[in-house]
């Protein structure tokens, strides 16, 4: 029986981008509902902080610093999850950088590569190594975090836009490949959410916020709840779909 208060009891979850923003909020939510959580992120400091705050509420958290644009480090993170938690059931591929506002013709090639690496390659490596581990565990679910830019062209953010469109394709194809293996794969599409990423360009964020029908930006905790729904048993018949948490932004 699933405990309604601890629906993720006995599950092991891995969340990338767990230093700041939607990642730690998701990790916290998962831990509160019973999962042991592996927090993956580039900077050890914020990871430790997030892990400590989970432990402070008697949750189980293991920080694992890694550069997710490096396939070996993504494989090591999955290995660490299986090693420390005994298995892997749930994963959230949630890393994202904007690359900074720039016209395509002015966009530095290195900046482009970095956006591709962190936003797209990381999701691919994540799926590549998480899926076998989840099948071995007997099944589970993965959520890839995209953006409203998966559905629109965002001027001055071409690389970012391209990666978010690509995450949708990755999610759809991978979900179909695994429709029969017990691994559900979905996309969570956040709109304007108050995170460090949205603070990198306050003017753009303010302009975007003005366009949100609900009149304000979202909070990481709200996005986390939606991610956790997609990961939960209640979403057992949901795969390859995308779920927008955008206050009506894309309407």
């Amino acid at each position: 029986m699933i405990d309604p208060l601890k629906p993720f009891a006995g599950k092991v979850a891995l969340v990338t981008g767990s230093g700041t923003g939607i990642g730690p909020a998701t990790a916290e939510h998962l831990a509160r509902e019973g999962a042991a959580v592996i927090l993956v992120g580039r900077r050890p400091g914020p990871l430790e902080e997030a892990a400590d705050s989970i432990r402070a509420t008697s949750g189980t958290a293991y920080p694992f610093p890694a550069d997710v644009s490096n396939p070996g480090q993504v494989a090591a993170a999955v290995d660490f999850a299986v090693g420390s938690g005994g298995a892997l059931h749930l994963a959230v591929n949630n890393t994202g950088v904007s690359g900074g506002a720039s016209r395509l013709v002015d966009l530095d090639v290195d900046a482009y590569r970095q956006v591709m690496g962190v936003n797209l390659d990381a999701a691919f490596y994540g799926l590549k190594y998480q899926i076998p581990a989840i099948i071995v565990a007997g099944g589970g679910a993965i959520v890839n975090v995209s953006s409203v830019d998966a559905d629109r062209g965002h001027v001055d953010y071409t690389a970012y836009t391209a990666t978010k469109h690509a995450v949708r394709g990755l999610t759809r194809a991978a979900a179909l490949e695994h429709a029969t293996t017990g691994v559900r794969i979905n996309e969570l599409q956040p709109g304007v959410i108050a995170t460090p990423l949205s603070r990198t360009d306050p003017q753009a964020t303010a302009r975007a916020e003005a366009k949100v029908p609900m009149g304000r930006s979202g909070r990481p905790s709200g996005t986390a709840q939606a991610i956790c729904f997609l990961l939960s048993q209640r979403a057992f018949y949901i795969t390859r779909t995308f779920f927008s948490v955008d206050g009506g932004f894309l309407a």
Partner: protein, 321 residues
């Protein structure tokens, strides 16, 4: 194992397709059926990893294959199926990032005169033949799941159908008999494969179980009695197939497109001791899901390795019979 459900006319290893770029892991790969399996796979372009306890024997076998077939891509892995820690170490290196297309759970011990135990305290025959391969399959599964289509070929034996193999005392604690323990382990290989097929339904991994017929290999080396040895020497010339023929069911199960997940394959010849491989009906309750679940739980309890938990997310597809 009395009735035949499907006959394959005249299969020979010549029908194996090009295996370039495909990798096979073979336990007991340095001798007997394992080495012969490796030889044929290499001939068809596959990369093989020979696994066994003794690095020198592995090297000798690998060098032999390279000599016979220049350019052969042969690797070795030291593996003691009687030690869970060593299995985890050997599998762990591969499981992290490698892709594996074929796993042959081929190694086996038989006819150990007195009850002995593995490093983990399991009865040696069941511990090696069954539990060691349970742990290895768990450890290598991530690598198999990365392949486009992977096969797990577990080698059983005619002994799988013996009545004594149906005993529940898998550790032979109440009563030990050399062939009794062997029969238990080989019947358990059939039960395991059927259960594995149920748990892997819908994935790219197809488990199959085979029996090689009656082959003369190093397995019989534990036969102590001079009379037994004399009988084997005689039978060897008259009836028993060579390792060459005995590898056919394994090769067929690993490469034929015409394979049923969880199926039991063996030689089609008279008395099922030789000939072209075909699918057999175990005619026992070895494929019963209740027994499969029981063996799985017991294997998990004994090894402390838990994998492929049955969850409500996974569609329960029954295997065709």
């Amino acid at each position: 194992m009395t009735s035949t459900t499907r006959t394959v006319s005249q299969w020979t290893p010549e029908q194996i397709p090009d295996l370039s770029g495909r990798t096979a892991f073979i336990t007991g790969g340095n001798s007997g059926i394992g080495l012969e399996t490796a030889r044929v796979l290499v001939r068809h372009g596959a990369t093989v990893i020979l696994a066994g306890r003794d690095q020198r024997k592995l090297d000798r076998a690998a060098d032999g294959l390279r000599l016979e077939q220049p350019g052969a891509d042969v690797h070795t892995a030291v593996l003691d199926l009687g030690a869970l820690a060593l299995i985890a170490a050997a599998a762990g290196r591969l499981a992290k990032t490698a892709t594996l297309d074929m796993l042959f759970n081929n190694a086996g011990v038989m006819n150990i005169p007195e009850r002995r135990t593995t490093a983990d305290g399991f009865e040696l025959t069941f511990g090696t033949n069954r539990l060691g391969h349970f742990a290895l399959t768990a450890g290598l599964l991530p690598a198999l799941l990365r392949a486009l289509a992977a096969r797990i070929v577990t080698v059983s034996a005619i002994a799988a159908t013996w009545r004594v193999g149906r005993q529940e005392d898998v550790m032979s604690q109440r009563r030990y008999g050399p062939m009794r323990a062997y029969a238990k382990s080989k019947r358990a290989n059939v039960v395991f494969t059927a259960e594995l097929a149920r748990r892997l339904a819908g994935t790219n991994v197809t488990p199959v179980v085979v029996h090689p017929g009656s082959a003369v290999t190093n397995l019989q080396q534990h036969n102590q009695s001079p009379l037994t040895r004399a009988v084997i020497a005689l039978t060897r010339r008259i009836a028993m197939s060579s390792p060459q023929g005995a590898a056919w069911p394994s090769l067929y199960a690993a490469t034929s497109p015409d394979i049923v997940s969880g199926g039991f394959y063996g030689p089609a010849g008279r008395d099922q001791t030789s000939g072209t491989p075909k699918r057999l009906d175990p005619s026992t309750d070895a494929t019963n899901p209740t027994e499969g679940a029981r063996l799985w739980t017991e294997s998990e309890r004994l090894t402390g390795i838990h994998f492929l938990a049955v969850t409500s997310t996974r569609p329960r597809v029954s295997i065709h019979s």
